[in-house]
């Protein structure tokens, strides 16, 4: 074993991509598989710089299909493996992640959203929400953390490995091009030093002993002959996913008792929303926010509770209704009106949010 990459708490000023590479190191990741795509390239770049110093590995594959499948393979061999991608790469990544979902493989994928559809921009968006949460030909049995700062990128990348290995669902850290490329301060730490134990990894295949005699056979399947057989398997997975849900859902809220406008946002946009809501609340206006941190599973009950005390909901996102759709789905049955401030592929400033909320409040007068 090489020496520990991080000792004590270290204040750092770096890009989000660099923060992810450090987090993976701190989490004890063994290997990264990847294929370059902007804006996630520097995760690979920093990892390849850091990895040899700590006896970690890196494999560049021929595309994202391969990066995803090799990540699955790394996990099957018992390695804490991860990959990172964005945009069209994330589209290709869905095929292997669908397999991970089928076989309950604890892969970790970091997504730095860029503009879409197709090549679009290399800059930024929140347009990979639906894809990351529900991509693949399945039911979206995955965990998706949406971060909003470098500190969270670091914290949740570490956490993603633990959630994945504890519950055995593919886990995603969903950020964006702004978070990838911007520089801000954060504190790096070794999770073990803070008492945050890393869930141990184990090989899925090639275990010692004779299958059926010394141990149960490894029976990994993504193929079924009979409809009912598949349904039974999925019913078990869905049940376990639902049992896990209250244990891992995370959210943040402000001023949600009796609001005229409750703003819902995630990721980097949440920062603009938080600034806007606090500014308006300081003026005495009844404005609050709700921020899902886990987009999958979604904090449904918590949002419902906040929404039940709101006169109007405003969903703000850099996409054309991807979060809005999730919010509507999770609030079905409540009669609170829902409006969207939707800017696909474009950053949102606090000033814009303030202006939109003022318009809504003005309309009500």
């Amino acid at each position: 074993m090489g020496e520990k990459p991080i000792k004590g708490e270290q204040k750092a000023f770096m890009t989000g991509n660099e923060a992810v590479a450090w987090a993976a190191l701190a989490a004890g990741a063994d290997i990264m598989y990847g294929y370059p795509i902007t804006p996630q390239n520097e995760i690979m770049q920093y990892w390849t710089r850091l990895a040899p110093k700590y006896e970690k590995k890196f494999l560049q594959t021929e595309d994202e299909l391969s990066a995803g499948f090799t990540t699955v393979g790394g996990v099957l061999a018992g390695r804490r493996a991860f990959t990172a991608t964005a945009g069209p790469g994330n589209v290709l990544m869905q095929e292997p992640m669908s397999m991970a979902e089928a076989m309950r493989i604890p892969t970790v994928v970091v997504v730095q959203q860029r503009g879409g559809p197709s090549t679009a921009t290399v800059i930024y968006s929140q347009q990979e929400v639906t894809l990351t949460c529900f991509g693949g030909n399945g039911e979206g049995l995955r965990v998706v953390y949406s971060t909003s700062s470098h500190q969270e990128l670091f914290d949740y990348t570490i956490k993603a490995f633990n959630t994945a290995w504890k519950y055995r669902f593919p886990t995603f850290v969903l950020a964006d091009g702004y978070q990838a490329k911007m520089r801000e301060s954060l504190v790096l730490y070794d999770p073990q030093e803070k008492g945050q134990k890393m869930v141990p990894t184990e090989a899925f295949v090639g275990k010692p002993g004779t299958p059926g005699e010394d141990r149960a056979p490894a029976h990994l399947r993504n193929t079924y002959n009979i409809e009912e057989e598949l349904m039974d398997e999925l019913a078990k997975d869905i049940k376990e996913y639902e049992e896990m849900t209250p244990e891992i859902t995370e959210y943040e809220e402000f001023n949600t008792q009796d609001t005229d406008v409750l703003i819902v946002a995630h990721g980097i946009v949440f920062r603009s929303v938080a600034m806007a809501a606090r500014e308006l609340a300081e003026e005495g206006l009844k404005v609050g926010y709700f921020r899902p941190i886990t987009l999958r599973p979604f904090p449904r009950q918590e949002l419902q509770k906040a929404a039940a005390k709101a006169k109007q909901i405003l969903v703000v996102e850099s996409a054309y209704g991807q979060l809005l759709k999730m919010v509507k789905d999770n609030l079905y049955g409540l009669d609170v009106p829902i409006k969207g401030y939707l800017r696909p592929g474009v950053g949102i400033t606090p000033e814009e949010v303030v202006a939109d909320v003022r318009t809504i409040l003005g309309e009500e007068e």
């Binding site: 921009t121 702004y178 520089r183 801000e184 949102i348 400033t349």
Partner: protein, 190 residues
């Protein structure tokens, strides 16, 4: 400093605006300030207008994008047209005095519009290579977001290896920083 200072710095790709932002934010980080720096980047590897959005303050910075900057600097005609939208009533808008044909593009709303002979000074008195460091000096003169001493430390950290080989470069960079600082500090904007 009780307020977050918002800066938009724009120039042609290759003029070194991102390097200025890197060194400036490093200096601010060494002073223990809170910073958010986001480069604006396109698909092109070279050319095009490059913008650095920088916010420096004492508290955690909120959103990465802002509508109005406190200081907006443009180093080419295209850059003037690209970033004049970030000027508001309290903005100090600085551009290079050598830029021609932008009279109608300068932001009328800005509190102050300042033309500084940065390129000319760098070319005639110093060296074209330190143009961007001169701009950094002007930026510090207008905002005082970091001290000149810290800025020099950050330059040393970034370019120290080059200074080892040629100590004259250090002198030239520091001089450019000071010249830029004086250009703006003397105008009463800060």
């Amino acid at each position: 400093m009780d307020k977050t200072v918002k800066i938009a710095l724009a120039g042609e790709g290759g003029q070194g605006v991102q390097s200025v932002a890197m060194i400036l934010t490093e200096a601010a980080a060494m002073e223990g300030k809170e910073i958010l720096y986001i480069p604006n980047f396109g698909v092109e590897q070279r050319g095009g207008v490059s913008i650095a959005f920088v916010q420096i303050g004492d508290k955690k910075i909120g959103a990465p994008k802002f509508k109005t900057g406190d200081i907006v600097i443009a180093l080419s005609d295209r850059a003037v047209r690209r970033v004049n939208m970030y000027a508001g009533h309290e903005t100090i808008f600085i551009y290079d005095a050598g830029i021609e044909g932008v009279e109608d593009d300068l932001p009328e709303v800005a509190q102050r519009v300042l033309a500084i002979p940065a390129l000319e000074t760098a070319n005639k008195e110093l060296h074209p290579r330190v143009f961007n460091v001169l701009i950094m000096g002007a930026l510090i003169g207008a905002t005082h977001v970091v001290t000149l001493e810290k800025a020099k430390e950050a330059i040393e950290k970034k370019l120290g290896y080059k200074f080892e080989q040629n100590p004259k470069l250090r002198e030239m960079n520091f001089k450019a920083l000071e010249r830029g600082y004086e250009m703006v500090a003397g105008t009463g904007v800060a």
